[in-house]
């Protein structure tokens, strides 16, 4: 019961924050609303008993990506012009509504085999076993490391002064 109440509060706040991101004219306030949206997503992970992912969400999204985006806003002085919409506003709304309808139709016309097993309580050790253990995702972890290195080098090269 407590989980249900928590889910509804987090879902409503998260959707409202996401709507604020796409409707606010002030791009800086939109970024602050995005941080609120990230926080509610972390809460959603907790209601799904994904504790490690909630911590990673706080660290990576709320801590790092939002700061990066605010830095980008500060460095590109477009705050005065604001975040306006272009001439595709109505087609974009139709496309988004069609997507939502298609997903809802697919979701409710499928019979899901929901498991009744209780989820793992602390997931950190099990996730470590999945990522680094036998028959795990160790190759993907190595590739992710190379990807992050390439992204850092690419970002440095792109913004370097001539």
């Amino acid at each position: 019961m407590g989980l249900d109440i928590a889910f509804w509060i987090l879902a409503v706040v998260g959707v409202l924050a996401a709507l604020a991101v796409v409707t606010l004219r002030d791009i800086f306030r939109a970024a602050l609303a995005l941080i609120l949206c990230f926080l509610t997503v972390a809460g959603i992970y907790i209601t799904l008993s994904a504790d490690f992912l909630a911590a990673v969400q706080i660290l990576v999204y709320v801590g790092a990506i939002s700061i990066l985006i605010i830095l980008g806003i500060m460095l590109t002085r477009e705050v005065q012009r604001g975040s306006l919409t272009n001439k595709f506003r109505i087609p974009a709304f139709i496309v988004a509504a069609l997507f939502l309808g298609a997903v809802a139709y697919a979701l409710f016309s499928t019979t899901w085999q929901v498991s009744t097993v209780a989820p793992l309580a602390p997931t950190t050790q099990a996730l470590a076993g999945k990522l680094f253990g036998e028959d795990g995702f160790i190759l993907s972890v190595e590739i992710a490391a190379v990807l992050l290195l390439a992204a850092i080098l690419g970002a440095i090269v792109l913004v370097r002064e001539k």
Binding site: I27, L71, A104, V159
Partner: protein, 103 residues
Amino acid sequence: MSVGLEHYVILSAVLFAIGLYGALAKRNAIAIMLSIEIMLNAVNIAMVAFSRFITPLLLTGQVFAIFIMVVAAAEAAVGVAIIIAIYRGRGTIDPTEINLTKW
């Protein structure tokens, strides 16, 4: 009715649709990046919800969510760098005015 898989997937689809609208309709490259981040978070919610309700003991969906976060972090870093580089060169980050690769 207690909260189940459908609630989480619908929440994920709503967030994805909001992000899709923002990515298509905004006239500021930073705002488009914010919308893309919302979409990535929506996909992560769906991944974790399926992992929780379909295969609660395997955690494969949570591993996928971690890799999505890695790619999202790389995307944000490179995206902000590209936007700053374009702003330096052209003085605007309006995607409707950036037509370098158009002929």
